[in-house]
Every structure is written in structure tokens, then in C-alpha cells.
């Protein structure tokens, strides 16, 4: 049985990754799971300088999901390279560094700084809805996405994954723009912008007023978008949004995702990543699938 997948020339031992922001840089969950078993670890977003993030409360539970407005708190690229990259290098897994910024120059500074680091890929967060300094418009505007992707590709030494926001009218337009800018792969979806109100206190449930909704409740939206994007672009798609089980992950793969990421599920099941990976192997045995790649995008109409 062959669970390997290849994204932009980087071979992953299996298609299971962690979703950025839910797994730190692996240190905390490394106490629960063997990181060697993962296809890749995608780190929490890192910027050129430390970011303090938003005021608390930063999260709220929603029905079958949660909403967060962490505000991309991160220690900055210097500490990240000194501490987190060496930690992850101890494991036999691929390292994908998620990059965030307020402006193109900030992204480019991080991307350049990463060029000499022993990392496998980078994922560019142009879609986090929590910071007000204009990113929202950034990831939502096809022209800006193409331009930023091209700028990053010019300086990046590692393959570049653009992470797309679902908070747009037509995600395939943004996907095509990223592809036109030279993206090596696309990951989707980031969180859906939401709002929750505490009726007893008559106030917003999180300090930031709005937050990104994630978890099983949003999965059908994510599967639909992955299906649309996979049919609109040629580059590989990494699917995420409410994956907690192997069956969830397989929905994305059948819809066209080459790899998948487990996010919010880590919070309620620290072993979710491993269980997804093992469950996919079980499925392959049951369905007599030799190579995982045979499953990518083969969903068919009912009755066919």
C-alpha cells in the first residue's frame, strides 16, 4: 500500500498535515503524537517581527465548531528559526512554514529569511480574517493575490502554497489568480468569518467582535470549495475545514485534494492526526486501493 503524495516535488509519506494555528510548531502535541507519523507539520503563522495578537477572550465555542480571533500572535521569524525549525528537524516529517504579514514587504522579508532554512515548503496566509490592516481585502482581491504570489515566487527558494480564504463570492477566481501568479499549490479553506453574541451579557462573545469559524460545522462548505477549486486549477490542492476523522479526510481527497490538514480536531482529540492517517490506510485496505493518489478527485455522480 502506497500512501505517499507529492506536492510541488516534495514527497510526503502520507497526505495528513496539521492545519496552521492549531498545532503551534509541534512541541505541545509532540507529547501526544509521534510527529514522525505525519505527512507534514504546518506551523502557526510567523511574521517578520513578534505579534502580540488580540485581546481576550479570543475564542468561543459554536455549535459543532468554534470561533477564534487569536490575531496571529507569533514570536517573530528570528525566534522561530532559532527554536522551532531545529525542533521540527528532529522528526522525519516535512516542515511547512505558514507566513503572515500586514503588507507585501513583511511577507517578503519572512520568505527571504526562510530561504536558507531547512524547511520543505511555505504556506502564505493571505486570508486570516482577524487582523484589520487590510489583509481581508488582500486575499479577497484576485489582482492583489496574483501580484503578491508573483512577488513571493520571485524570492522564495522553497515551493509556495497560497492559503485561500472562503470569504469570497467565487473562490475559483482567487485560486486561478494564485495559480497565474505562480503558486505551486493551494490550500483551502481558512476559517469562515463569523460573529457570536453572548445574550446574557449582551456583548460580543470574543473581544475582536468577529472571528474565524472552524470545526465540523463548516466541513460541507470546505468540501464544496475544494471540489470547485480542484476542477478549476492544475496545481495540487490541500484540503481542510472540519476534518476530524479519516472519512472526513477522504471526502476532501475524493473531491480533489491531494493532501489534507487536521485543525480544530486537535483541540478535542490530540491524536486526531494519527487516527486520520491510520483510518485512511484502513479505507485503502477495505477498498483495495494500491496507491492513495488513485483516490484523488474520483468522486462521481450518484448512479454512475
Amino acid at each position: 500500500m502506497d500512501t505517499r503524495v507529492t506536492i510541488a516535488g516534495v514527497e510526503l509519506k502520507n497526505p495528513v498535515m496539521t492545519a496552521s494555528g492549531t498545532f503551534g510548531s509541534g512541541q505541545e502535541y509532540g507529547e501526544f503524537v509521534d510527529l514522525n507519523r505525519l505527512g507534514a507539520v504546518v506551523t502557526k503563522g510567523v511574521a517578520n517581527v513578534p505579534w502580540a495578537g488580540n485581546p481576550t477572550p479570543r475564542i468561543a465555542e459554536t455549535y459543532g465548531g468554534m470561533m477564534n480571533a487569536i490575531g496571529l500572535q507569533n514570536p517573530g521569524i528570528d525566534v522561530f528559526c532559532k527554536r522551532d525549525v531545529p525542533y521540527l528537524k528532529q522528526f522525519d516529517t516535512k516542515i511547512i512554514v505558514n507566513v503572515c504579514g500586514h503588507a507585501p514587504e513583511e511577507y517578503l522579508e519572512v520568505v527571504e529569511r526562510l530561504s536558507d532554512e531547512p524547511i520543505d515548503m511555505m504556506e502564505i496566509n493571505i486570508s486570516c480574517p482577524n487582523v484589520n490592516a487590510g489583509f481581508l481585502a488582500f486575499g479577497q482581491d484576485a489582482g492583489n493575490v496574483e501580484k503578491l504570489t508573483a512577488q513571493i515566487k520571485k524570492v522564495a527558494r522553497q515551493p509556495v502554497i497560497m492559503k485561500l480564504t472562503p470569504n469570497v463570492t467565487d473562490i475559483t477566481e482567487i485560486a486561478k489568480a494564485a495559480e497565474a501568479g505562480g503558486a505551486d499549490a493551494l490550500s483551502l479553506i481558512n476559517t469562515l468569518t463569523g460573529m457570536k453574541i453572548d445574550v446574557e451579557r449582551q456583548s460580543f462573545a470574543v473581544a475582536n467582535k468577529t472571528g474565524g469559524v472552524s470545526g465540523p460545522a463548516i466541513r460541507p462548505v470546505a468540501v464544496r470549495m475544494v471540489y470547485q477549486v480542484a476542477n478549476a486549477v492544475k496545481v495540487p490542492v490541500i484540503g481542510m475545514g472540519g476534518i476530524g476523522t479519516a472519512a472526513d479526510a477522504l471526502e476532501f481527497i475524493l473531491a480533489g485534494a491531494t493532501a489534507v490538514a487536521v485543525g480544530t480536531a486537535n483541540f478535542y482529540n490530540p491524536r486526531a492526526t494519527i487516527e486520520v492517517a491510520e483510518g485512511i490506510e484502513d479505507y485503502m485496505r477495505r477498498h483495495k486501493v494500491e496507491k492513495l493518489t488513485e483516490l484523488v478527485g474520483i468522486v462521481k455522480e450518484r448512479g454512475q
Binding site: 475564542i59 477564534n68 486537535n266
Partner: protein, 260 residues
């Protein structure tokens, strides 16, 4: 590598102490073996629409039997804590822990220690009172009706404060401390933010070493998601900003290292 994990605990008993306040004993051998006063566990609702664990502090730890006691407040209708309150002896519950750092016992050893609890911050002070080897003064504050007072009375000199004056000093825990002219070398405190803020100020004015147990809404409970941060006086070594993680770096902090 794999050393921590979620554990299926079994409920040994459940008791309603006061309207909305419940006491539950859990059989959780592995967690109980490791647990220290001031730590907490993540408790998971069986209802899968409620994804996130509820962080609940440990009230008592019985290592011999492998039991843990939690005393918790039901936060409203349809909440996870309401579901916990309806569970019965023999029911299974997923938990994770022990989480967080706990109270430093060495800091109070052989000294005069003031243990201060307020509201639903009262329960974690009980196991501390049992384990701390010190001259202990216990000051517990309640809105009106009191709970756990019998157990506290067996573990040190107990002073009460109630907002309605129904027992002890009318007012808050600091009013009780002033009324009885209580002094100490070290303070341990857990309670709502306004109480902790006042105790932080009080201890710093009086130059008393003070440990506070903080509360914040949590998601992962293990330090990965950065939801439950509190402000720190200095740039934190891990976050590299003025933030500390309540679940991982805390919940117990020296009062002088955090902003409340």
C-alpha cells in the same frame, strides 16, 4: 513522543452542594498519579456539538485510590457543565490532564501562608490546604451560601467573607483579612479577576510573595492555540511578546509577573 493522552475517567459519585454548584469524584488513575494542587483537567462533554473541553481545577487528589475531585459551577442552561451535572456514578467521561503548573508548595513551606479563594476559585484551594506544609490561614469568599467550609475547617484556621453578610465578614476576602488583621509571608489565591487584581495590589503594597491562579477561556488546554493568554510584565521567553499562556505557563503565576 507519545506520553500524554486523554483518559476515560469513570464517575464515582456526584453531589449537588448548592444550587448550581456540583461536586464530582472521578476515577482517573493515570491523571491522579501525576496531579498536584492547582492543576486542572480538561473535561469533555459527550455531546459532540460541544467540541471544546471545559477546563476545571482539581479540588482534591486521592493518589491511593486514583480518584480526583472537581467542584464546578453550572454556567447555564444547555451548557457543557449542565451536562456534567446530570451524569451519574458509573458514567464514563473523557478527560485530559493533569494540565498546567500548579501551586509551588516549596515557596510556602514552614512559613505563614494565606490561602485565599473566591467563588468558584474556592475549590482548588482545598487540595493546596491539605498538602501545604505551612502555618495556614484560609480565607474563603462567597456571594451568599458557602460550600466546602467543613473540609477547609479541618485544614487550617478558616475565615469567611460573604457579600450578604450571612457568614463571617460582610464584604470580600480582603475585608476579612483586614478585619482579622491577618498577616502572611506568602499568599496563594484563586478567584475572579477583580479579586485577584485587588490581592495583587495588596500583596505588592505589603511586600508579600503572592501566587495567583488565573482563568481564561481555553481551546486546546496544552499551550498550542494561544487562546488563553494573559498579559505579562516582561517579554515572555516562549511567546516573545508580553503574553503568557494560562493553560501551559500557568494557571499559577507570581502576581508580579502578570497583568490582571
Amino acid at each position: 513522543m507519545s506520553c500524554k493522552r486523554k483518559e476515560t475517567a469513570v464517575i464515582v459519585s456526584q453531589e449537588c452542594l448548592l444550587p448550581g454548584i456540583f461536586s464530582m469524584w472521578l476515577e482517573a488513575g493515570e491523571v491522579a498519579k501525576e496531579a498536584v494542587p492547582g492543576q486542572f483537567i480538561s473535561m469533555y462533554a459527550n455531546d459532540r456539538s460541544k467540541l471544546l473541553p471545559r477546563p476545571i481545577s482539581l479540588c482534591e487528589i486521592d493518589k491511593e485510590k486514583g480518584f480526583l475531585r472537581v467542584v464546578y459551577r453550572v454556567t447555564g442552561k444547555g451548557t457543557g457543565t449542565e451536562q456534567f451535572s446530570k451524569m451519574k456514578a458509573g458514567d464514563a467521561m473523557e478527560i485530559m490532564g493533569p494540565l498546567g503548573n500548579g501551586f509551588p508548595l516549596e515557596a510556602g513551606k514552614g512559613k505563614r501562608a494565606l490561602l485565599i479563594g473566591g467563588g468558584i476559585g474556592v475549590p482548588p484551594m482545598l487540595e493546596l490546604a491539605k498538602q501545604l506544609d505551612a502555618d495556614k490561614l484560609l480565607v474563603m469568599g462567597y456571594r451568599d451560601e458557602q460550600f466546602l467550609t467543613k473540609e477547609f475547617g479541618q485544614n487550617g484556621g478558616l475565615y469567611l467573607a460573604t457579600e450578604d453578610g450571612s457568614a463571617g465578614t460582610r464584604g470580600n476576602v480582603l475585608d476579612a483579612i483586614r478585619e482579622h488583621k491577618l498577616t502572611a509571608d506568602v499568599i496563594y489565591a484563586c478567584g475572579p479577576s477583580p479579586m485577584l487584581r485587588a490581592i495583587k495590589q495588596y500583596s505588592e503594597e505589603k511586600h508579600i510573595v503572592c501566587y495567583v491562579s488565573m482563568e481564561e477561556r481555553m481551546a486546546c488546554g496544552v499551550g498550542a492555540c494561544l487562546a488563553c493568554v494573559c498579559g505579562s510584565k516582561e517579554i515572555d521567553g516562549h511567546s516573545n511578546v508580553h503574553n503568557k499562556r494560562v493553560c501551559k505557563d500557568g494557571p499559577v503565576f507570581l502576581s508580579t509577573e502578570v497583568e490582571i
